[in-house]
């Protein structure tokens, strides 16, 4: 597919990497020639320097033959203008714009129709929603939902006290007392596709498929005491904090925000009537103590500086805060970060990138495209949900008789409202939804791709 990406910041770059890997024809537009040059050295793309909202530049980039325009510059207005202009020149084009200003978010649905936008993404808001979901189930590092919220893939880290250490996967049921499936294990930074004899070790991060209504049971089985967070301390008063506080206010959770900029504080105080705003430096211990770090249930670090977020989170962990969530904008969650007790790591950039990649894949493959795609295990594995339709091969045949590609796992089959963690005798029928987990670089575009 021919795709234009306008604006190559952090998000643009992540998208470029992912989309180039999937073999699309990419053209990048940015005002900064230096950025473009370094990107061209790294990826097989064409680059154009200029203002992406001008007709001239868009024409030059071949907008008429392009299938999709993704506007990711720093300014919402430019993104919108860019999409409008493109839509004017080529009415058949799909457009995705990043719109992050809270003032526009309210009206985004109306704007979508007016400006011919196919999709508007708001990474900060998405991150806030994600954090809100994590706060509901402390104990999981990450939650990805499938089948309209009925099935989830959750991430757990096995610390020294965990009951699962030195347990083979076959014996897990006797401990957790509920039907779950470990689809990927991240050990020493590498994703492993485990089989029944795989023995879990301390420090592993495991990705577990489980029906949503079994999550509480799972946590209880593991001996993790959960109580929903009642007091949340948020460091940094940026856009994510705003969206998060607004969302938490609604569910009656007490939120405290520490923000350095007095003007921003005043603004937030005006917008968030039930939230306590403290003006001060979130990196100072005194300020954190004053914010009540010792008796809050969850600490969320959302300042604009990754390093600061990490330090505050480490401090929070050492103070014994039961749930810590760290936002990282620039850094990828990698091996080094794995060793630190940063709790859940949230990357607005990657969340947003996942959303767009999902859209692109759906566009490319109108029928049979994945309904949901999540990248798990630090991007080393992918979990996808497919609907079984009349074109799907091998319906009704037991899984053990099928030749399924290496490193591909059928993680869950949902029939109506019944979820089933599959074994060798399970099968899927038309109308079911199936969750597939793949390890490695292989891209699965439709369900039939999993068969040899």
């Amino acid at each position: 597919m021919k795709i234009i990406v306008a604006g190559d910041g952090k998000l643009g770059l992540t998208l470029t990497r992912q989309l180039a890997l999937e073999g699309h024809d990419l053209t990048l537009i940015d005002a900064n020639a230096k950025v473009l040059e370094s990107i061209q050295e790294r990826y097989d793309v064409m680059v154009i320097q200029g203002n992406c909202a001008t007709m001239d530049v868009l024409q030059h980039a071949g907008i008429k033959e392009t299938d999709l325009l993704i506007a990711m510059t720093g300014a919402d207005e430019i993104n919108l203008l860019c999409c409008m202009t493109a839509h004017g020149i080529n009415p058949a084009i799909h457009t995705i714009a990043r719109v992050r200003n809270p003032e526009y978010t309210e009206q985004i649905y109306k704007m979508r129709d007016m400006f011919g936008l196919s999709m508007a993404v708001n990474p900060e808001r998405q991150a806030a929603v994600e954090i809100g979901r994590l706060l509901k189930y402390p104990g999981f590092l990450k939650r990805d939902t499938f089948a309209k919220g009925r099935v989830e893939i959750v991430e757990l880290r096995l610390d020294e006290k965990s009951k699962l250490c030195n347990v083979a996967l076959n014996d897990m049921y006797s401990i957790v007392r509920c039907k779950i499936l470990v689809c990927t294990v991240l050990r020493n930074g590498a994703a492993v596709a485990p089989d029944g004899n795989f023995i879990l070790r301390e420090g592993d991060r495991i990705f577990v498929t489980a029906p949503s209504n079994e999550l509480t049971k799972l946590l209880r089985g593991l001996g993790i005491i959960t109580h929903k967070a009642k007091r949340v301390l948020v460091c940094g008063g940026g856009r994510v904090s705003f969206y998060l506080a607004k969302q938490l206010e609604k569910s009656g959770i007490a939120v405290q925000i520490i923000e350095q900029d007095p003007e921003r504080c005043t603004m937030l105080a005006g917008l968030l009537p039930h939230t306590d705003i403290f003006q001060g430096d979130a990196s100072s211990e005194f300020q954190l103590e004053q914010g009540g770090i010792s008796d809050c249930d969850a600490l969320v670090t959302l300042t604009g500086i990754d390093e600061l977020n990490m330090i505050i989170s480490l401090y929070g962990s050492s103070c014994g805060v039961s749930q810590v969530i760290t936002k990282l904008g620039r850094m990828n969650s990698n091996n080094i970060l794995d060793k630190l007790s940063l709790g859940s790591i949230i990357s607005p950039r990657e969340l947003c990138c996942n959303t767009i990649v999902r859209y692109v894949r759906a566009m490319q493959n109108q029928t049979g495209a994945a309904r949901t795609v999540y990248s798990i295990a630090d991007g080393q594995a992918e979990a996808m949900e497919f609907l079984v339709d009349e074109h799907t091969l091998h319906c009704g045949e037991p899984l053990k008789q099928l030749k399924i590609k290496k490193n591909v796992l059928v993680a869950c089959i949902t029939t109506g409202s019944r979820q089933q963690i599959p074994n060798g005798d399970s099968f899927f029928c038309e109308g079911d939804s199936v969750i597939i987990v793949t390890n490695g670089d292989r891209v699965i575009y439709q369900l039939n791709d999993i068969f040899e």
Binding site: K2, R17, L19, A20, L21, E22, G23, D25, L26, T27, A33, I39, Q40, E41, R42, Y43, D44, V45, M46
Partner: protein, 484 residues
């Protein structure tokens, strides 16, 4: 330094060469030329074994590849390609000395067309074909061919850009379309279509099939190996004129043809480099015709020879219809100027390139204006667009490197004791991938008389000229080989 990746690449290149040598083998078989059949068989086997072996070794290579690796890869692969590609010449006994065979092969791959052979017509057909085909393969570049293949450049990585930059000519190499593979495919499709058209036009003039194919291959790569001792002089006016036109066509930037296919005629017509190129061609022909009045019998003959020689020299092809060494001084002076400047960037021709010359002259004029008005901010424009300072600096660096290498080669070649014009034009003819020079290396003569040292120097010059100096130059730099 990613040696495994390099091994894989060079292995693939050798396999490509191996496959392309098969038609030459078939031709030798048909003509029942025993010695060349044997030599081709040995070479093909050797290339196949080495290629597969290297590819096997590089199987586990990581895809980490940077500018340095790309440049070194290009330089090394061209040298290895030539060292192995000349084996048929040597083993079949067609060229008894290995250095001579290597010179001939490098001259082929770099599309120079300078020969060491006394009597070309005595060569077996298979060998003649391989000689001409090497021009075609070297013209667009074997790495670009590899990039067009489905095997290479997977995974959306950008390192292939370094390979394209290293092998394509010109100051500012860019892609035509977002994907490198598609770019390479477009380039080769244009190249093949133009070559086939050339063959058809030559056949229409009653040229024998073998001659037509070899001539077209030599024209396409702007190489210039003739298959006759008198180059193109023995053919009729129609064939000579067809050659003139096609030589000029292959001297045009290939992206112009792509734009024409996209119906962007206006931007092609406005292209400053193309205008300069055509202007120089037209001006040179007129001046030479005026200078040659009374030299030939009719005006038609004068124009035909002038146009042919101008096209042949500016595109650095090196075919000849007449011994221009006998022409008056002014005409020879113009030809010398054309030898230096070369045709358009992004074509198969060698030399300095019109585009680069344009940039350097514009930059120079800017410097002059800058002296008069030091406060005024001035930028260099090409086709209405501002040219990046880095591109200008690169063009100037290229000029400096060009002059330094030229002088060094000239001094080394001078040791042989030929006349100054011979030495000067020999280095020029090799460095700019033209082929014939003046006097002892003129169109009616060859390079056989030079010593082994001179031939080695000229071989390096040809390679440096074809790859635009830096991929060869960095092979001599210690930092390039140092492990990180």
């Amino acid at each position: 330094m990613n040696y495994k990746m390099m091994g894989r690449f060079i292995g693939q290149i050798l396999l490509v060469q191996c496959i392309f040598m098969v038609p030459a083998l078939v031709m030798s078989l048909c003509m029942k030329e025993e010695s060349s059949v044997r030599s081709f068989l040995i070479t093909i086997a050797l290339l196949g074994i080495l290629g597969l072996g290297l590819r096997r070794l590089g199987r586990s290579a990581k895809n980490r590849f940077y500018a340095r690796d790309g440049l070194i890869c290009v330089g090394v692969s061209w040298i290895i390609m030539s060292v192995l590609g000349c084996l048929p010449f040597y083993l079949s006994g067609a060229i008894p000395s290995y250095i001579d065979a290597l010179f001939e092969m490098v001259s082929g791959f770099t599309t120079t067309g300078a020969s060491v052979l006394e009597d070309v017509e005595a060569l077996p057909y298979g060998i003649l074909y391989w000689r001409s085909f090497s021009h075609w393969l070297g013209g667009m570049g074997v790495l670009v061919f590899l990039l067009a293949m489905p095997i290479a450049g997977e995974g959306g990585s950008g390192f292939t850009m370094h390979l394209l930059r290293a092998e394509s000519s010109g100051p500012n190499v860019g892609k035509l379309v977002p994907r490198m593979k598609s770019t390479a495919q477009i380039l080769y499709i244009l190249y093949i279509v133009l070559t086939v058209l050339n063959v058809i036009f030559l056949l229409a003039g009653g040229m024998p099939v073998f001659d037509a194919v070899c001539t077209a291959l030599g024209t396409a790569g702007t190489g210039g190996f003739g298959i006759k001792a008198d180059s193109m002089a023995g053919y009729g006016p129609y064939i000579q004129n067809v050659c003139t036109v096609f030589m000029l066509l292959f001297g045009v930037n290939f992206s112009c043809y792509y734009l024409l296919l996209l119906r962007q005629v206006k931007s092609v017509l406005k292209d400053e480099e193309l205008r300069l190129y055509l202007g120089i061609v037209a001006g040179s022909i007129l001046l030479i015709v005026w200078n040659l009045r009374g030299f030939y019998d009719t005006l038609e003959e004068t124009v035909r020879h002038a146009a042919f020689q101008v096209a042949s020299i500016i595109t650095t092809t090196g075919y000849a219809t007449t011994d221009y060494d006998l022409w008056p001084g002014f005409s020879k002076g113009i030809l010398l100027f054309l030898m230096i400047i070369g045709a358009c960037a992004g074509s198969t021709s060698g030399g300095f390139k019109c585009g680069r010359a344009l940039l350097i002259v514009k930059n120079m004029l800017r410097s002059v204006r800058q002296i008069i008005q030091p406060q005024k901010v001035q930028v260099v424009r090409l086709n209405g667009q501002r040219v990046d300072e880095k591109v200008l600096a690169n063009a100037n660096t290229f000029l400096a490197a060009y002059v330094v290498i030229f002088i060094a080669s000239f001094l080394l070649v001078s040791l042989d004791g030929f006349s100054m014009m011979t030495n000067f034009s020999a280095v020029l003819a090799c460095f700019n991938n033209i082929g014939p020079g003046f006097e002892t290396v003129g169109p009616a003569c060859n390079f056989g008389a030079f010593s082994v040292l001179s031939k080695l120097v000229l071989i390096m010059d040809m390679l440096a000229g074809r790859l635009e100096i830096f991929p060869i130059l960095i092979l001599f730099s210690r930092t390039a080989w140092r492990r990180k």
